[in-house]
């Protein structure tokens, strides 16, 4: 994946080049830039498809994709067009009213027949007219669709793509009502195991080659190709090799039909039942934008959401499949005091009572870089009031040069900005351990981390008077807690995160937290207000605006300005 293709510089949109071309789309005159970014973001002559988009006309297409090289093989974007007629003197021929005469494109050997051109690969020229709605264009689309459907099995009832299938959509919009094909269809292999996460149904494939181009040009893993001839064309992995890289599931999104389907999502839920929520992936520091698909409180899939400033239209397989823990049976769903079930009001009253009387310097807070900025801000307020020593935990892996970041925490920058950890997270942990051992630190607050794996073992934790732990899944630290507060997974709450490149992004709540579990912001707010006095706002928006006004690093950004694709902070 070249850096330019997936992660273009988050700079503001460059000003449109001064050079424009005037074209007509469906009779409407529009000024279109002479060049537009190609799949790699480099300027290239504007194509008819891009020009039509500028005019607000979407030309149907299968093989064309903004972020993939143009192939021009599906022929779905065929349109009729016309160019200004030139006289023998190389001067435009004019109509009687002075307008340039337009020559419609026709077959050279059959001038009565309109000749379509593929809008995805044909550059525009001055004065060109694009007829995206003419009878000839409609006829061409109908014929292309008919040809694509010749060997299509029409097994929509058992196809996972049904509901978000371009073949279905275009058949309704542009296709014929009935099939004229009476011969036996060509049958190809079904349910082919292409790789560990992908199933291929060759009969459904329309051979647009989007998957081949993606894996070759974006992931640099030339794993797929087309074998056999004519009607027997099939997509295939290299013999004896599995289609297995960390980006294979993007081909499922790319596939305009149901040929490539996800093994994970296979036969799980029909897509029209899924409630879609805009969110952000929290598996690493990149913070890919995602759409969460859930039905009745059950998460069924994550899909990438296009954001050119972060992830383009892609995301990695490991992040996409990292949702199963959310529905785990052993999720923490009870408030516990000393191991016995309690309730929120009792627990918060007890904790705030003990913290209010704690002498300065006797409290330590270990925050998590998986927490939202709002949670970290509230913890920071608490830490300031208590004079507490704070830190966070580093989580590192290996970067893959594409989307996976070496920083496996989604909000390391948020931890730094809110001041919950110094520029280097984790350096205060030995001090906390020493403090507990020496008996100067009597209370410890831990959010979303297992500190027993980071130098604060169970023996040390047993020395504490108060150990407040909030987490989502059980671990040795939650077992040692005097007060256990069940928290919410990222998809169960709202908040903002700052990715490794300083992109401030917000995510929304897709499902409810199980049992008594609550979003951390809610109970932290109650706790902080009880210990450190009122904050003066009850909403997450208000809290965010308060935080950005107080902390210079956030540059005073307002919640409303963040938008669905985030905003870049100068770190």
């Amino acid at each position: 994946m070249s850096a330019t293709a997936t992660l273009p510089a988050p700079a503001a949109v460059p000003p449109p080049p001064p050079e424009t071309v005037t074209v007509k789309v469906n009779g409407k005159t529009v000024q279109v830039p002479k060049t537009m970014p190609n799949w790699q973001g480099k300027p290239e002559p504007t194509t008819m498809l891009q020009a039509a988009r500028v005019a607000g006309v979407e030309i149907p297409h299968y093989c064309y994709h903004d972020k993939l090289p143009v192939a021009g093989n599906c022929r779905m974007c065929l349109v009729e067009c016309g160019t200004p007629m030139m006289g023998p003197d190389r001067k435009p021929v004019l109509n009687e009213d002075g307008t340039p005469k337009i020559a419609r494109s026709v077959l050279p050997y059959e001038p009565g027949t309109p000749r379509g051109v593929i809008a995805c690969a044909t550059p525009i020229s001055p004065g060109m007219e694009i007829y995206a709605d003419s009878p000839a264009t409609h006829q061409m689309r109908e014929a292309v669709l008919e040809s694509l459907l010749i060997n299509h099995p029409l097994d929509c009832p058992i196809c996972d793509q049904a509901g978000e299938c371009k073949l279905q959509e275009y058949s309704v919009e542009h296709g014929q009502a009935e099939s004229r094909f009476v011969e036996a269809k060509v049958h190809k292999p079904k349910a082919v195991d292409l790789g560990p996460r992908i199933i291929l149904d060759d009969e459904r494939c329309i051979l647009c080659t989007r998957c081949i181009r993606f894996t070759k040009d974006i992931v640099n893993d030339d794993a797929l190709g087309i074998v056999n001839r004519g009607s027997y064309n099939t997509i295939s992995a290299f013999p004896g090799k599995a289609f297995d890289n960390n980006y294979t599931l993007n081909t499922v999104d790319l596939c305009p039909v149901g040929a490539l389907t996800s093994k994970d999502f296979r036969f799980k839920m029909r897509v029209w039942f899924l409630k879609e929520t805009s969110s952000v992936c929290t598996s690493c520091g990149t913070g890919c934008n995602i759409t969460v698909g859930a039905r009745e409180g059950v998460i069924h899939r994550f899909e990438p959401r296009s954001n050119d400033a972060v992830n383009g239209p892609w995301m990695c397989d490991s992040g996409r499949l990292n949702y199963k823990w959310i529905g785990r049976a052993d999720r923490l769903r009870e408030v516990r005091i000393g191991g016995r079930r309690s309730n929120w009001s009792t627990a918060l009253r007890e904790i705030s009572g003990k913290l209010s009387t704690a002498p300065a310097g006797s409290v330590a807070i270990v925050a998590s870089a998986r927490q939202t900025n709002e949670e970290l801000y509230l913890l920071k307020r608490l830490a300031t009031r208590l004079g507490a020593i704070t830190d966070s935990i580093v989580r590192e892996g290996e970067a893959d040069g594409l989307l996976v970041s070496a920083d496996r925490n989604p909000n390391s920058n948020g931890v730094r900005l809110t001041g919950m950890a110094y520029t280097e997270a984790g350096i205060q942990l030995p001090k906390i351990a020493a403090g507990i051992a020496a008996g100067t630190i009597r209370s410890l607050i831990v959010f979303g981390e297992d500190v027993t794996a980071h130098g604060l073992d169970a023996g040390l934790l047993a020395k504490l008077d108060l150990l407040v732990v909030s987490d989502v899944l059980p671990n040795p630290t939650t077992e040692a807690a005097t007060h256990l507060l069940p928290g919410a997974a990222p998809v169960e709450k709202r908040g903002t995160l700052v990715n490794t490149k300083g992109r401030l992004q917000k995510f929304n709540k897709a499902v409810e937290a199980p049992g008594d579990a609550r979003p951390e912001v809610e109970f932290l707010q109650e706790l902080v207000e009880a210990v450190a006095g009122p904050i003066g706002t009850a909403t997450i928006e208000g809290l965010f605006n308060r935080m950005t006004a107080e902390i210079a690093g956030f540059g005073g950004v307002q919640w409303a300005a963040v938008g669905d694709t985030g905003i870049t902070l100068s770190l």
Binding site: I158, A162, V186, H187, A191, D264, F267, M269, R270
Partner: protein, 198 residues
Amino acid sequence: MSTKVVERKPLTAWERSYVPSILGGLGVTWKHFKRTAPFLGNKPITMEYPEQKWVVPEGYRGAPYLVKDQDGATKCVSCQLCEFVCPPKAIRITPPGAEGQPADRANAEKMPLEFEINMLRCIFCGLCQEVCPEEAIFLQKDYSLTGVSREEMVYDKEKLLKLGGTHAGVQKWKHKLEEAAEQETFPVETAAATEATK
């Protein structure tokens, strides 16, 4: 608008004794008894439900049940269109998932793990039958559905298949499989070519 006051005559002593009303009523009863009593040679005009059951007309919309094909296989492929279209949300389908049981029909790939119809919610509208691309659910002739609990009125897949019986139809998945097998033979023997060789 004028008001007409109806004169209510006070009842006489004879009328107040109820005797004329009782006699009048007995007269009506006797008249109908003579006209309908079977042992007086009359044809019965009522149906002794539930010993006798009404035969519903063609096209009657009774309870929706799942059907099996002529080979005894489940026709439903769990496409969930009926669940989507059902106006009172009476239908609930659990799809098989990736590791679920494979369909008992060859080539269909998919069948529901569970299929429930809440007969208390069902309004017998027939949209499920209309929308079904597999001809797997039909409104049948059952109109009297009873149970002693709400749970009992939620019919599961097993019960629906048992009640639904068999519906012979085009076996498109089987047909596709046959077509695919034919494709493997070469040269392709068409019906016309076979005729010609004879």
